[in-house]
Amino acid sequence: MSRSFLAKNPSVLTFLLVLAIFTLTVTILSDAYGLAFVSTSFIKTLGKTLCLCLVALAMDLIWGYAGILSLGHMAFFALGGYGLGMWLMYARTEEIVVAALAQDVIPATAEEIRQGIATQIFGVVGASEFPAIWVFAHSFWLQIALVVLVPGGLAAVFGWLAFRSRVTGVYLSILTQAMTLALALYLFQNDSGLRGNNGLSGLQNLPGLDGVSQDRLSVWFLWGSALALGLGYVLLAWVVSGKFGSVIRAIRDDEQRVRFLGYSVEGYKLFVFTLTAVIAAIAGALYYPQAGIINPAELAPIASIYLAVWVAIGGRGRLYGAVIGAAFVSIVSSWFTGGRVPDVPLGFYTISWVDWWSVVLGLCFVLVTLFAPKGIGGLFDLVAGVRTPDRKGAALGPDDGALMEREAQE
């Protein structure tokens, strides 16, 4: 049983291979590096999808493996985006301000430049001073540290309070949902220091890279996102493959029993919650420069619910399931809501997919949950011939450990 990590996790190698082939193919088909077959905006969509796959991986770890249905992970994703966005916006505005002031006869002082940047960024919300939270925005490395530390810290504090009080199940879901809603409402305010509902924009322009076209940048970001997704997959496969994975799955199935084995259930939940928040934040930091804009609507509770839907449809409890779910549903989603799908005229009513897509998605979610709890990932089991033991009859009790009907009769 002392086989190597890869031998125990055959999906890792397959996944990395598929990811590499995908990235290479897109690169070859891109405007900047190949046949110009795929448009730059579609490459951005693909790059963003890879980031969504990464946050879905995090969601799968916390929901599929540890059994905590967090409906707030897109808040950490957006916070990561804001974190990097602050630096992007500062540095980019600085270039513009310095260029503008260079025309003056007297060279501008550092204070004047800083003032100029503040006016440029915050003029839209009627302010001209940097709020305190922008104190590190001038430094790339400090701001990168904040991308990890702020969502990680928030998750640690929130998780500590929630798990310590033994809030579980649907109550925890509601609490995380409330957290993301509260954060969104706070950021909508103009004096929150992050430009209110305008959000941060122009994030697609990287400072110092004026000479590089968006065609090439989009491919660079695709590479970066693919790298992050690959590393994230390997990391999480390693986390869930050993005893740690055993313990968190055990917590999902019967947390009281795990306590009596001597494991601090709260400690494990907090660990997983914080780790997944940090992964979500990194995914967000890579996503928003490709989207170009971030605003508080990104923290809307619905975003986190979508995340859960992706993982459920893809198949929770298996890492590749989450990736497939996120990729499949978000690409199909953007196709249906993009207005390119022909309407269906029924005579008395015309089905417009832009309006009806959420209904279809909701229906799919319900059907998958009821009839195919393993999701799309379950198809791989069919191919491989893995079957869950047929235990005959319905479960007698609500507990997973309960005897099945037929067994009890025997």
Binding site: G242, F260, G262, G401
Partner: protein, 247 residues
């Protein structure tokens, strides 16, 4: 011989109902003890208190040579201090293999960081194999625990308890739902275990208690009614009253 577990003057009530009433109980470091009593006598509540699931309103619970109070510890800390518990219904992790179940129970560091970097060594494999052999599950190691029969699940749980290397073992109705042969195997296991540690067995079944051949504590209405050998307590007039419902 100093006591391993000392429960004294413990009371607990739920919404005014006194489940445990000034209960005192001691057990030595290598002793087998059976607790019997009618339904609602407080047997399960007693176990809940010792394992930290329920906090008593009054009284003390101390454990080990240093007489650590268990009342200020969490369930996980109590388990790490050396108290193992087996539930009436077999609670094993059905979605995981017998091997994984035993590995999880194996005595080792329990903090998330240590568990994350933990990798199975040859010594761990040998230990798991030895445990599986002891409970008769050696061939079932790679199988999912959910596929096991009811009796096998009971043994897997006993194996997991052994893997924890507890100093005190609380066992709730181990013979429930077992065949006669399985009961004999379980009796042997329990008697064996009690050679090196304290074992408390809560049981309804008098035949099973007789087979254990140990000191018996009779609980009634949350307090100790009688204590001694099974023959001694069954001759006690109070016990007869309680069991035959004349009290």
């Amino acid at each position: 011989m100093s006591a391993l577990l000392e429960v004294s003057g413990v009371s607990v009530s739920f919404d005014g109902f006194r489940a445990i009433n000034n209960l005192s109980f001691t057990i030595g470091p290598a002793e087998l003890r059976a607790i019997i009593g009618p339904n609602g006598a407080g047997k399960t509540t007693f176990m809940d208190i010792v394992t930290g699931k329920t906090r008593p309103d009054a009284g003390t619970v101390s454990f080990g040579e240093k007489s650590v109070s268990l009342l200020s510890l969490t369930e996980a800390e109590i388990a790490r201090a050396g108290v193992g518990r087996k539930f009436q219904r077999p609670t094993v992790f059905e979605d995981q293999t017998v091997h994984e179940n035993l590995i999880m129970a194996l005595k080792a560091h329990r903090s998330p960081w240590r568990v994350l970097v933990w990798r199975e060594a040859a010594a761990d494999r040998d230990k798991v194999a030895a445990l599986a052999e002891e409970v008769g599950l050696l061939d079932a190691l790679p199988r999912k625990a959910g596929e096991l029969s009811h009796g096998q699940k009971q043994w897997l749980e006993i194996g997991m308890l052994l893997a924890q290397e507890p100093r005190l073992l609380l066992v709730d109705e181990p013979a429930a739902g077992m065949t006669l042969a399985e009961r004999e195997h379980t009796t042997r296991l329990l008697v064996d275990m009690a050679r090196t540690r304290a074992v408390v067995v809560v049981e309804h079944d008098m035949d099973f208690v007789r087979r254990l051949n140990c000191k018996v504590t009779v609980l009634h209405e949350g307090a100790v009614l009688a204590e001694g050998s099974l023959d001694h307590v069954t001759k006690n007039s109070d016990v007869i009253d309680v069991y035959l419902g004349r009290g």
